[in-house]
Symmetry: C2
Subunit: 224 residues, 2 copies
């Protein structure tokens, strides 16, 4: 049975990679920078993204978001309060988003097309394992880690951190209360992914957001 599973899994991932390549082509043609945000549940992806969307809007950039959850549209409602166009994808038991789900939600998006936006953020299902295998055609995969989670997460979930292009440490306003060991966290991230850009942020206080927004802007210029 194991062999059949491995073969089927390989088939699924191959199909996903083909669809992701098509998406990548669509994103590029539309001139949109696409980011895939992955983390554990509770890291604060939604709060971080909500602030990012607001700040981009204040700077005159156009951003949209797709957000994945097993159930509920809580996150889409929270993100929509930023004024950006947002769509919820409910996976109903699936532990990750895949390229097919993304493709379906890019069509028939009331009034919004990829050509209209500068940035598309995809907030993945909260999970440190499953999303790492599924390419969504994104240019930048962002692994988020909160100061409340423990500094050894990169070592324990190496595939996810190893496939990331940038790392965002969230909730740094809670660092002292959690006795967060910053040096250890940075060392662990860089052990798994040497040279990765790391942003230390608080969506609550705004710390680190300026640097992050600058990175988005530069990445978009380099991308197009």
């Amino acid at each position: 049975m194991t062999t059949r599973i491995v073969e089927l899994r390989r088939g699924i991932l191959k199909k996903n990679d083909e669809l992701a390549a098509e998406l990548r082509h669509r994103y590029h043609a539309a001139g949109v920078l696409v980011l895939n945000l992955v983390s554990s549940p509770g890291t604060g992806k939604t709060t971080f993204l909500e602030r990012t969307l607001r700040e981009l809007r204040a700077r005159g950039a156009w951003a949209a978001a797709l957000v994945g959850d097993l159930e509920t549209d809580n996150d889409a409602r929270r993100l929509a309060s930023s004024g950006a166009p947002v769509r919820q994808i409910n996976t109903h038991g699936i532990c990750h988003l895949d390229a097919e789900m993304i493709g379906k939600h890019l069509d028939n998006w009331q009034g919004v097309t990829l050509d209209d936006v500068d940035y598309l953020f995809i907030e993945n299902v909260g999970n440190l394992v499953c999303p790492s295998s599924y390419d969504l055609g994104e240019k930048i995969r962002v692994a988020l880690l909160s100061v409340t989670e423990g500094e050894d997460k990169p070592l324990k979930y190496p595939t996810l951190f190893n496939s990331a292009d940038a790392a965002v440490i969230t909730k740094i306003d809670l660092a002292a209360a959690c006795e967060f060991n910053r040096d250890l966290a940075l060392r662990n991230i860089r052990e798994i992914r040497p040279g990765i850009r790391v942003f230390e942020t608080s969506a609550k206080t705004g710390a680190g957001m300026e640097e992050w927004l600058e990175y988005l802007k530069e990445s978009r210029s380099g991308n197009l």
Copy 2:
């Protein structure tokens, strides 16, 4: 392809259920109460479990632990400092423990047999999706949720909370700093799993541990 996947998945889960039933029989015959701890990565399962093991030991009870992670034996080393026998299971990419992995690690446990212990704690891989489908033969499934994670996790990951026998809220020492909405969290837990026992704890300050230990003791008496 989807049909074949569904069939294979059904086959895997059926096989797991059969192995879990055997494990349940072994646990019962040995007079050990087995608990399966599930949560998001970073909820604080290990810290909570470490304190639990220490407190049980101080009360003259015998407890052991199996701990699942994709990589590293960090958690086993942390737990072993409690003096309890602990074994690490590395799943190498698999997002959950299954009954077969548990069965293999119960054999050849240097010097320790199930007959020697009163409690066996299984710390699952940090994941709010995948572990919910895999019965490990446990008597009690415990879903943990930290105050830093957001009150809506039970609604967003209903299968996991719905399959739990007890819920533990962790890190309540950080509740004020996180602006944790206790009433909302309790309401969401109970919406998904009416009547569930909820423990509000801090492994740091010891809050709520007395009640939790009493619950363990009562569950063990009722179990045997």
